[in-house]
């Protein structure tokens, strides 16, 4: 009898470990995460608009239909990425997601405080190689460190009314993300 109680206790304990391990492994094991869904429809290191979600089709679940969205699926292995995004009249935001869907940095047009949002995205190793004086002279040059080599830059522009959607999409169409390949 005692023996079976011990077997059960062992099973429960091991079950707890299995539970924690599967939860922690899920972000890496998921095949239908946002990055995979977007990778299926976008090229790498290029800013492309995503279709506005509708009842028939949506690239990702829970997308806000009031926003025009553009995505740059980046890969930093060849070099850093330069992002240039003009802001729309209503509201524009840029959010950086790591390969496993963590929003590690987000900024909106007002926080950026300029007509365009300009950022450099690099790995911590590439950031360390940026000459120091360059870092100082370009004081307004914003450098973001990506925790993963690949990931997503998501640009969102609000259409406050459905009729303003073309305006929001036009604003995003001018956005660019370039790979600064090392010579």
């Amino acid at each position: 009898m005692i023996r079976w109680v011990l077997w059960t206790l062992g099973g429960l304990l091991l079950g707890g470990i299995v539970h924690l391990a599967t939860v922690l492994a899920m972000p890496r094991a998921a095949t239908q995460d946002a990055y995979s869904r977007i990778a299926a429809v976008t090229p790498v290191n290029n800013m492309v608009p995503l279709p506005v979600p509708s009842a028939q089709h949506s690239v990702l679940p829970f997308m806000d239909p009031a926003f025009a969205t553009a995505v740059c699926r980046y890969d930093l292995s060849a070099g850093s990425i330069k992002l240039n995004a003009p802001v729309s009249e209503a509201y524009t935001s840029v959010t950086f997601y790591s390969r496993d869907s963590v929003a590690y940095y987000a900024i909106n047009d007002r926080a950026a405080g300029r007509r365009a949002i300009e950022l450099d995205l690099m790995t911590p190793a590439q950031h360390a190689q940026v000459p120091e004086e360059e870092d100082v002279t370009a004081a307004d040059r914003l450098i973001i460190d990506s925790p993963t080599r690949t990931g997503l830059i998501v640009l969102r522009a609000l259409a406050p009314e459905p009729g303003l959607m073309p305006m929001a999409q036009r604003a995003l169409a001018a956005a660019k993300c370039h790979s600064q390949a090392v010579e």
Binding site: R3, W4, W7, T8, G10, G11, L12, L14, G15, G16, I17, V18, H19, A21, T22, V23, L24, M26, P27, R28, A30, Q32, D33, A34, S36, R37, P53, S54, A55, Q56, S58, L60, P61, F62, M63, D64, P65, A66, Y91, S93, T95, F96, Y97, D100, S101, V102, A103, Y105, A106, I107, N108, R110, A111, P147, V154, R156, L158, P160, E161, P162
Partner: protein
């Protein structure tokens, strides 16, 4: 023999308990650090690097991109103020005020995060297009049949989710959770 049987029993139990708990927590959406105001619940940390492992696993499995904390915060409601689960064949009224934000949107989804087909092709409202009363308050009718004023159609589906997104807001960023409100009230008005 007994040892073999015992080991097998333990491993089987571990698999059932471990995977069962994972499945349950991911389908129910367990996450820590939630911020609940009335019927609305947000997980502000899910939009930052401080995301907890459960929310992280849920997001990876579901395939959505959480709204970044520097962008805004998303409040989810699956039930009304009296904790009655939303039924798309019933009508509900959202009314009141919202916390300070530059813009907000309210959107209706099915439980998988898809927009719901309807006759007027409306899936939500933005703070700019919603029709308000003179004091700035507003009322949105969430119902299967057409309503005067702000009508958000449910398409008659069984279960739906409302998502209230506040953009450029101090909510969730500030350390205090006291006096974060108000969020709009959600009340049930009967079923057809």
């Amino acid at each position: 023999m007994r040892l073999l049987l015992g080991t097998f029993f333990t491993f089987a139990l571990a698999a059932i308990v471990g995977l069962g708990a994972t499945w349950l927590t991911l389908t129910r959406g367990v996450a820590f650090g939630s911020l609940t105001i009335g019927a609305w619940t947000a997980w502000p940390k899910s939009g930052s690097q401080d995301i907890d492992p459960y929310a992280h696993a849920g997001i990876a499995r579901g395939g959505e991109l959480p709204i970044g904390i520097g962008d805004g915060v998303a409040f989810y409601a699956r039930a009304d103020d009296t904790r009655q689960v939303f039924d798309g064949r019933c009508s509900f009224v959202i009314s009141g005020m919202t916390p300070a934000a530059r813009f907000w949107t309210v959107t209706l989804y099915d439980t998988n995060g898809r927009l719901v087909a309807n006759s007027i092709d409306r899936h939500g409202f933005t703070s700019q297009e919603v029709v308000r009363e003179t004091d700035g308050r507003f009322t949105v009718a969430v119902a299967p049949q057409a309503r005067p004023g702000n009508w958000l159609p449910t398409g008659g589906i069984e279960r739906f989710v409302l998502v209230w997104r506040l953009y450029d807001t101090p909510i969730g960023v500030a350390a205090t959770t006291i006096g974060e409100g108000p969020m709009p009230a959600v009340t049930r008005k009967g079923c057809s």
